[in-house]
């Protein structure tokens, strides 16, 4: 047990927080609804952490990749009555494959070019979802998607979503503790050095981006079976951007950073007077965070505790 706490601290923190959070919102209808939606966003934010924080691909397609997973699961459930649980695997696999294909092209390029390519891909998929009436239902979207069998109350659904978040955090932390994770870190600091060490940088970065797309697909699958409705505007490029901003505010280089940023900003958002001010709030928060603490909230905390420890240690 102690070994687990020592070696996977982030997972343990996440599990404790998720259990208390989900337990606290049981019996509050609004709280349960928020817990599910924030959990889905946190999962997408986690995928941003993996793609931007670790693999260095500033992706503006994460929410749209989630939408692919959601659409796929909704379509097979509505057309052929396939159980959502059977559709889970394809809903994760399709975004993963697509992201891997894109990443093979963009990882050798400049970071800015990679960011633009994801933005262009996101726009293409969004337009396709709007206009491919026979499959995606066009602007109207797909209605009447079945909920997850066996998960009846929103409270139980919140537990499922946050369980998924914890699993994703565990996988993510596992990756970062492995040789592959250390290689990813090396690539971020010095690509030439990583290549000299025998790391196939484009392949590893592509794999990282593909895994992040898998997280996004999982988020989309959870989303569609909770809302039971899917339209092009539910998970669009705008959503990708707000999740991206939230992840950066939380601290994109840290495993828990994106989740903390999402939860904090989403809770603060409840205090806003109107839905439309959201962007102003996100954009402002991002600029302030970049100016004050470029590594996000967690980075700031990390630095201050280190400085504090160093000051205490140097005292005679």
């Amino acid at each position: 047990m102690m070994r687990l706490v020592r070696e996977r601290p982030n997972t343990c923190i996440a599990v404790v927080l998720a259990v208390t959070g989900v337990a606290a919102v049981q019996d509050h209808p609004v709280g349960m609804d928020n817990a599910v939606l924030i959990g889905v966003q946190a999962l997408i934010a986690l995928s941003v952490g993996l793609s931007y924080g670790q693999a260095g691909i500033l992706s503006m397609a994460q929410a749209v990749l989630a939408a692919i997973g959601g659409y796929l699961s909704a379509i097979v459930a509505l057309r052929w009555g396939v159980s959502p649980y059977l559709a889970l695997l394809p809903a994760i696999a399709l975004p993963t494959v697509l992201a891997w294909g894109l990443a093979r092209f963009v990882t050798p390029l400049d970071h800015l070019a990679a960011a633009l390519a994801t933005l262009a891909l996101s726009t293409v998929i969004e337009i396709a979802a709007r206009n491919w009436d026979s499959v995606t239902g066009g602007y109207v979207g797909l209605t009447g998607v079945p909920t997850l069998p066996g998960v009846r109350t929103p409270g139980a659904f919140a537990a499922v979503v946050w369980f998924a978040v914890c699993v994703a955090i565990y996988l993510y932390e596992n990756l970062m503790r492995s040789a592959h994770g250390r290689a990813l870190n090396t690539i971020r600091h010095d690509r030439a050095r990583a290549t000299a060490d025998g790391v196939d940088a484009p392949a590893l970065l592509s794999a990282g981006f593909a895994m992040s797309a898998g997280f996004a697909g999982l988020a989309g699958w959870l989303y569609v079976h909770y809302i039971t409705y899917m339209s092009p505007s539910s998970l669009d490029t705008q959503a990708s951007i707000s999740v991206l901003l939230m992840a950066v505010v939380g601290g994109v280089g840290y495993v828990l950073g994106p989740v903390i940023g999402t939860v904090l900003l989403s809770l603060l958002m409840q205090l806003l007077p109107a839905q439309e001010v959201q962007g102003l709030f996100f954009g402002g928060a991002l600029i302030v965070i970049l100016l004050v603490a470029r590594d996000g909230i967690l980075g700031y905390m990390d630095r201050t505790t280190r400085a504090w420890r160093a000051a205490r240690g140097s005292r005679p």
Binding site: P108, L119, V124, T237, L280, L290, L291
Partner: protein, 280 residues
């Protein structure tokens, strides 16, 4: 033929938007994702104030927004944060904030002003004189920019700041000031583009991102290094868009800017010599 003329006229605006992209990339090596939102805020203010004063106020608003971006850039740089991707991210924050401000204040309504009701007959093709105003103004801007960049001291300073910031600094050029100037110039050009769009097709709060993408597509298709090529790229994109709208469908036409970007980037993939991030 009709589609080619129409595309050329509408592509002029893309060419105009490509200018701030290539100018900024030349001087600072980064992308300003907020360019589309300068156009939006200029349009919103111009329509609200109205008349000739509205046009001036719109330009002022775009300049103000660009000045804000320049200020953010300067603050980031002062804090030792010169990573191009961080600056691009900050410009994203500004773009989202401006779009949200416009949505909050004006709602989802479209900004459009009536232009000419008469049409010119050009060898059997009916075109609005507005198209020619767009084309003329865009060409004038490109010419002015070309002159400034390649025929004046300021332009030489800008190019020097881009090629070797440190060396330029040592040679007595105020590199940061030049770079902030590039952001402001980008705001002015984007504001002008926004005003032209108000008179031709109109725009609403969703436009910033597609506009930025279109401008960037136009800028990179023939190489981002020169503003002239950016304009030609914009014209080419307008023509392809108009032709595909005419012969295929409006869906294909709306895909054109994104497909341009993807195509160019994958071409870079096939023809490049070395990987980004390698040491030279």
């Amino acid at each position: 033929m009709e589609y080619v003329v129409r595309g050329l006229l509408s592509g002029a605006v893309y060419g105009l938007l490509a200018l701030p992209m290539s100018l900024l990339f030349l001087t600072t090596g980064t992308i300003d994702f907020a360019v589309g939102s300068y156009a939006l805020i200029a349009a919103a203010i111009a329509v609200t104030v109205g008349g000739g004063a509205g046009l001036a106020a719109g330009m002022g608003a775009a300049l103000l927004a660009a000045a804000l971006m320049a200020l953010i850039f300067w603050l980031l740089k002062r804090r030792g944060n010169e990573d191009p991707i961080t600056i691009a991210l900050a410009s994203f924050g500004l773009a989202v904030a401006i779009a949200s401000l416009v949505l909050w204040t004006w709602g989802t309504k479209a900004f459009v002003l009536p232009s000419f009701s008469t049409f010119w007959d050009l060898g059997g093709i009916r075109v609005s004189p507005q198209g020619f105003i767009n084309l003329g103004l865009s060409l004038a801007m490109v010419g002015a920019l070309y002159f400034v960049l390649y025929r004046s001291d300021l332009g030489r300073m800008m190019r020097a700041a881009a090629v070797n910031p440190r060396g330029a600094e040592l040679a007595g050029i105020a590199v940061t000031r030049v770079q902030c100037g590039a952001f402001m110039a980008g705001g002015a050009v984007a504001g002008l583009a926004g005003l032209l769009i108000v008179f031709s097709s109109g725009l609403d709060y969703t436009i910033p991102l597609p506009l930025t993408l279109a401008g960037f597509g136009a800028a990179i298709i023939l190489g981002i290094k020169s503003p002239l090529r950016g304009f030609a790229g914009g014209a080419a994109m307008g023509i392809v868009e108009a032709v595909s709208a005419g012969y295929a469908s409006s869906i294909v036409a709306s895909l054109v800017p994104s497909l341009f970007v993807l195509a160019v980037l994958s071409m870079q993939f096939f023809f490049q010599k070395r990987f980004a991030g390698d040491r030279p």
